[in-house]
Subunit: 250 residues, 2 copies
DNA sequence: CGGAACTTTGACACATATCAAAGTGTGTGG
DNA sequence: CCACACACTTTGATATGTGTCAAAGTTCCG
C-alpha cells in the first residue's frame, strides 16, 4: 500500500496490490497488506507520495526546517547529524533503503537534525498531514506509526548504551555488525559491502576520533576479522566480531 | 482531564474540570482542557487510572515485562536502566513528577528498560488500550501522544550528543542544569535541591565512573560553582555552569 | 552501636586524543 | 589524457583525561 505515486493505481484489486506491497522496499513503513480490509485499502490509496532524487552530499532537510513530511528511503544512504548548542555536528544515525526519516520532527513541528545523502539516493516524501488523516481511518496504520516511533526510541537507547559503556573496539564491531545485519535484511551480502561514510563520520557516530577508527580497522584486519581497503570491507569472522562487541577479552 | 480516579467525577461541567486540569501536575501528559470540546471531555473522563505507590528501591516495571500501561509520575523520582546483551545496566534517564514513563514499550509490546523508584513515589497507571481508544475519539490527544513520543526521541538524541562529544565536566554541568531546569518548571528551587541518585548512578547515566563524578563535584565546589555536601546541592553560579557545559575553556 | 552503603581522595595505569607527516585515491580543469 | 589539488586514510610519537585500585572518611539504617 505504501508504494509511491509512480506505480499504476490499482485500488481495490487484491492481487496487484499484493504485488505492489511485496515489491516495495519500504519495509519500515509498510503495514502488511493482509492486515488491511478492502475499504481500508481504498483509503490508503488516497495517499500520494512525491518521489525525490537526492544527490550525494545534498541535504534532504535541515534542523529547524518546517516539518511536513516523513521520508522513506527508497535507495541510497544517508547520515543524520545534530548539534548541541555551539558544539559541532555529531552523526546520530545512518539510514539505508527501507528506513524512515523525520520521525523526530513530529512533535516540535520542525526537524531536529540535518539529513544528508552520502550517495545518490531516492526518497518518497510522505505528507504527514495526509498520513495522519489516513491513519485515523486505519487503526493498524496508526498502530504501525506508533510502533515505528517506539522502535526508534529503542534504537536510540542502544546507541546511548554503546556510547556510555563500550570501548572503541566494541563500538566499531557493533557498527559493522549492525550495518551487516541491515544489509542482509535487504538481500545484500552481509559480509562484503561498501562503507558509504568516512572514518570521520563513523567516528562522530561512535564518539571516537577518526584516527582511532582507522587504527581499529587496522587492528581488526591484523587479527583476521575483516579485510578492509578504504571504503570496501569484507567481514571474515563475524563471530569473532560479535565476541569483540560483547567485550570478550581476547 | 488526565487527573486520576481519586478525584470526584465532574464530567460535563466546565469550571470543575478546568480546576482538575490546572491542579494536575501531569503536565507532560495533559492536553490543555481548553483544547477539548465538551463531548471530547466526556469521552476522556471514561479513562480510569490506578494510582500506585512505589517505595524507594522498588521496581515499577522490568525490561521484558508485558507492556500494558504508561505511567505518569505524580510524585517522587525514578531511574530507568537498560542493558545491552551481557553488559551491565546503564542508567538511561531520571524521571520526576509530571513525566511519563513507558513510551518505549508501545512498539515491542514489552518494556525496554527497568524503572526503579529512587524515593517513595506515586504514579498513575494509564491503561494503554483504553488510552488508544479514547485518543481515537480525540484528535488532540492523539497528537499529544505522538508529540510526547517525538519529544522523547529528541531527548534521547541530546543524551547521545552528551555521551558522544562532551568531556566529563561538560557532562556533569549539563546534568545539573537539566535537573535544575526541570525542578524550576515544577515550582521548586532551581538552585537548591537534593540529588536522589548516587554518584554511581549519575556516572552510569553520564558514561563516567563514580570516582570521576565525585572529583568533578569537588572541582566545581573549589571553583565556587556549587555547594555540595553528599546528596544536597546548591548551585551558586549557574551561568558559570552553563559556560562549563558549552565547553568554555575556563 | 555496628555494619553496610556511599563518598572522597590519592597514586598510578591505560585508552584514546592530539599533533604531525606521509601515503593513496579521486575528481577537475587544462 | 595528464597533472594537480584536495579529501581521505594510515601510521607514529606523545599528551592527557578518565579509569582502576586502594584506603580512609562519612552517613544512614537496622
Amino acid at each position: 500500500m505504501l508504494d509511491d505515486a509512480a506505480s499504476p493505481p490499482d485500488s481495490g484489486q487484491f492481487e496487484p496490490l499484493k504485488i505492489k506491497c511485496s515489491s516495495c522496499n519500504l519495509r519500515e513503513l509498510c503495514v502488511p497488506c493482509c492486515e488491511l480490509t478492502a475499504s481500508e485499502r481504498k483509503v490508503a490509496d488516497l495517499m500520494v507520495f512525491n518521489r525525490l532524487r537526492v544527490r550525494r552530499s545534498e541535504i534532504l532537510y535541515r534542523s529547524g526546517d518546517h516539518f511536513s513530511s516523513l521520508y522513506a528511503v527508497r535507495s541510497g544512504f544517508f547520515k543524520s547529524t545534530a548539534q548541541l548548542d555551539n558544539a559541532q555536528d555529531q552523526v546520530t544515525r545512518f539510514s539505508m533503503a527501507g528506513e524512515v526519516l523525520g520521525l523526530d520532527g513530529i512533535g516540535p513541528g520542525q526537524h531536529a537534525c540535518n539529513t544528508i545523502a552520502l550517495e545518490d539516493s531516492e526518497v518518497c516524501a510522505i505528507p504527514f498531514a495526509k498520513l495522519q488523516e489516513v491513519a485515523h481511518a486505519i487503526p493498524s496504520l496508526q498502530r504501525h506509526l506508533r510502533r515505528m516511533m517506539s522502535r526508534e526510541m529503542v534504537r536510540e537507547q542502544s546507541v546511548m548504551l554503546l556510547l556510555g559503556s563500550m570501548n572503541a573496539e566494541e563500538r566499531l564491531a557493533t557498527l559493522l555488525l549492525n550495518l551487516s545485519k541491515r544489509l542482509a535484511a535487504r538481500g545484500y551480502s552481509p559480509s562484503e559491502f561498501s562503507l558509504r561514510m568516512t572514518r570521520q563520520e563513523m567516528g562522530s557516530y561512535l564518539g571516537l576520533k577518526l584516527e582511532t577508527v582507522s587504527r581499529i580497522f587496522s587492528k581488526f584486519h591484523e587479527e583476521g576479522l575483516i579485510d578492509v581497503q578504504r571504503k570496501s570491507i569484507r567481514i571474515l569472522d563475524s563471530d569473532g566480531l560479535a565476541r569483540v562487541m560483547s567485550g570478550a577479552l581476547s
